[in-house]
């Protein structure tokens, strides 16, 4: 899994305000516009940032969740969850 679609989802949220509004108001419709798998969709719905990070999502783009509290994710929630993630950078 390349997580390209997840990256595109977040990047589009920043650069396309109409898409961002859709992601906030109708997240299922927004996700359907992106090449993301069912597993990835579930992780987004759950705000499961640890799973997303462990599967290769760039943390900078992932943290866009907190810019607009997408899927209800706040900074404290995000921080607590991301610190549970296995960090694949450090072997």
């Amino acid at each position: 899994m390349s997580v390209y679609g997840i990256h595109k989802f977040f990047r589009t949220c920043l650069h396309d305000t109409a898409f961002r509004d859709l992601a906030l108001n109708e997240p299922e419709a927004a996700m359907a516009k992106m090449p993301i798998s069912d597993e990835e969709k579930q992780a987004l719905r759950d705000g499961n940032v640890a799973w997303l990070y462990e599967h290769g999502v760039h943390a900078f783009l992932l943290s866009y969740l907190t810019r607009w509290n997408l899927f209800g994710v706040t900074v404290p929630m995000y921080s607590e969850r991301i610190h549970q993630a296995k960090d694949w950078r450090v072997p």
């Binding site: 595109k8 650069h15 760039h58 943390a59 610190h83």
Partner: protein, 274 residues
């Protein structure tokens, strides 16, 4: 024969413009940037080669260059909603075209970017250092943010090549060189501070980089700054590559001054240009 007249390293922290606007000209960041702006102004540059790294704003993963150079009459920014003034930015198109051509002929596989805007990585340095002077820039994009990064040696070799290319430019331009970014910074990852979106996970590494630079120990720094080592200092720590390219372009001398902001994992530096 163009001439290299200044070498500068600065951070591009996106909150600095709004913070400084709020805190006023006596705050630390304002003073650090102002000193460098004065140095740059004294150098009377006709063009500024600016190494920085896009943060998925100018480019995305549908077509993500490892190295790219902006060759156009002008650009603008910021394109990433950084809270700061918007600027139109002149580009030194003939020098940019010359450097791209020279680079390709010398075996550097540099993407050509003829229509583009810039994110905070370029616009924060512009705002603090060049918004008054408005010296035309040559924007040089180095991937310092999306793994795998170019090696530290490759960034150094890039600068060494560009130094020769600048010196071979058929014009009398005075060229300043800026590298921009952090030595240790994590945004959104597990190395961020608890409760925060970002953090400075490896102040020791940032301090070590500063010592290596002050001693001119670049060969050692290059061998230490592996992709893994930089990654352990945070997911923006690859921005060191922008500094290495700048230093090599300036001939690999020591900094004249280097002032760290330890808590931020970055520094403000001015280089000798032998």
């Amino acid at each position: 024969m163009a001439e290299i007249v200044a070498g500068i390293g600065v951070p591009h922290t996106p909150v600095f413009p709004s913070q400084v606007a709020r805190k006023g000209p006596d705050c630390e960041e304002a003073r650090l940037y102002a000193e460098i702006e004065a140095h740059l102004s004294d150098a009377r540059a006709d063009a500024i080669l600016l190494f920085s790294n896009d943060h998925f704003n100018t480019f995305f993963l549908d077509n993500f260059p490892l190295f790219a150079i902006g060759v156009a009459p002008a650009t603008s920014g910021p394109n990433d909603q950084t809270p700061m003034p918007a600027y139109d930015v002149p580009v030194h198109e003939p020098l940019a075209a010359h450097l791209r051509r020279s680079g390709v002929l010398a075996g550097f596989d540099i993407a050509l970017t003829q229509e583009f805007t810039l994110d905070h990585a370029f616009m924060v340095p512009w705002h603090f250092l060049n918004a008054r002077q408005r010296t035309p820039i040559v924007p040089f994009f180095i991937d310092g943010f999306s793994n795998p990064l170019p090696s530290a040696q490759r960034a150094w070799d890039l600068g060494t090549m560009l130094r020769k290319a600048i010196q071979a430019y058929p014009g009398k331009e005075r060229v300043a060189v800026i590298g921009s970014g952090s030595f240790s910074l994590e945004i959104g990852g597990p190395l961020a501070d608890k409760g925060e979106r970002s953090g400075t996970p490896d102040k020791v590494w940032a301090g070590h980089i500063q010592k290596r630079m002050e001693a001119g120990e670049y060969l050692q720094l290059i061998s230490e700054a592996t992709g893994e080592r930089m990654a352990r200092a945070g997911n923006a720590a690859g921005e060191l590559l922008n500094w290495l390219a700048m230093i090599a372009t300036c001939g690999g001398g020591k900094p004249l001054t280097m002032k760290p902001q330890v808590d931020h994992g970055h520094a403000f530096g001015v280089w000798s240009v032998p």
